[in-house]
């Protein structure tokens, strides 16, 4: 029962903040709504026995990534975009397409027999940082290393992009 109430409240907050992210005009407000949405999803992770992922979500996503977002929005002063609204038929078409997408996915999921009970008490605490770290460095060592290379590439790319052109460096 308590799980139901928590799920419903969090789901309502998650959907409301997602709509807020998409709908508000000011990009800063949009970013703040997104922070709230990410925190709500972190609460879902806690509800799903994944404390490590929840903490990483808060620290990396709601923390670092969103601070970067807000920093860039405020630095550019791009809270509101100006200019021609572009294609008129795009918004109704996008709404219709999104409705079809959501309806289709919901239909597919609710159709399938998913009355799967939570997998009892898992052998080890499922979201245990030690278990995740052990798995990352043994069976999934290759993706882990590829990820580190990806981060290095991103870092170098950002430095190259952010370098001021024509400064000779």
């Amino acid at each position: 029962m308590g799980e139901w109430i928590a799920f419903l409240v969090l789901a309502a907050v998650a959907i409301a903040t997602a709509l807020g992210t998409v709908a508000v005009r000011n990009a800063v407000h949009s970013a703040l709504f997104l922070v709230l949405n990410l925190l709500t999803v972190a609460a879902f992770y806690l509800l799903l026995n994944a404390p490590f992922v929840a903490m990483v979500q808060i620290a990396v996503y709601a923390g670092a990534v969103m601070v970067l977002f807000l920093f860039v929005i405020m630095m550019l002063g791009a809270e509101r975009v100006s200019g021609a609204p572009g294609m008129r038929w795009q918004i109704p078409l996008a709404l219709a397409w999104g409705g079809i997408l959501i309806g289709g996915i919901l239909f597919a999921f609710l159709q399938a027999p998913m009355e799967l009970p939570p997998a009892g008490s898992p052998p080890a605490p499922l979201g245990d940082p030690a278990a995740i770290g052990g798995r990352l460095l043994t069976t999934h060592a290759l993706p882990f290393e590829v990820t580190s290379v990806l981060l290095l590439i991103a870092m170098v790319g950002v430095v190259v992009l952010a370098r001021h052109h024509g400064s000779g460096g």
Binding site: F7, V22, F44, I153, V158
Partner: protein, 100 residues
């Protein structure tokens, strides 16, 4: 009892909202945020599946998605700053030409 289907439905809903936002909005920075919304919805589906199947792999997938998303945001925002320097706008309709 909350079942896997509920979590997957919520995840689909969040993904759909992000997708619609991506198509509707014109500010490139908000488009990035909508991508984050969609990635996040996928992460919720992964963790829910991980819980209900009793497998750890879902949480590892979220971990990798998180890293890729962070890299994507860093490069994407650097691109936006570089574009803003020359074009003075982040409206994607004004950024449709391939000339710098």
């Amino acid at each position: 009892m909350v079942t896997l289907a509920h979590y997957l439905a919520l995840s689909a809903l969040l993904f759909g909202i992000g997708a619609v936002g991506f198509l509707v909005r014109r500010n490139a920075l908000i488009l990035f945020m909508c991508v984050e919304l969609m990635l996040n919805a996928a992460g919720l589906a992964f963790v829910a599946a991980s819980r209900y199947r009793g497998l750890l792999e879902g949480q590892l997938a979220v971990f990798f998605v998180l890293v890729v998303a962070a890299a994507e945001v860093a490069v994407g925002l650097a691109l936006m700053v570089a574009i803003f320097r020359t074009k003075q706008t982040t409206n994607v309709d004004d950024l449709s030409s391939l000339r710098g």
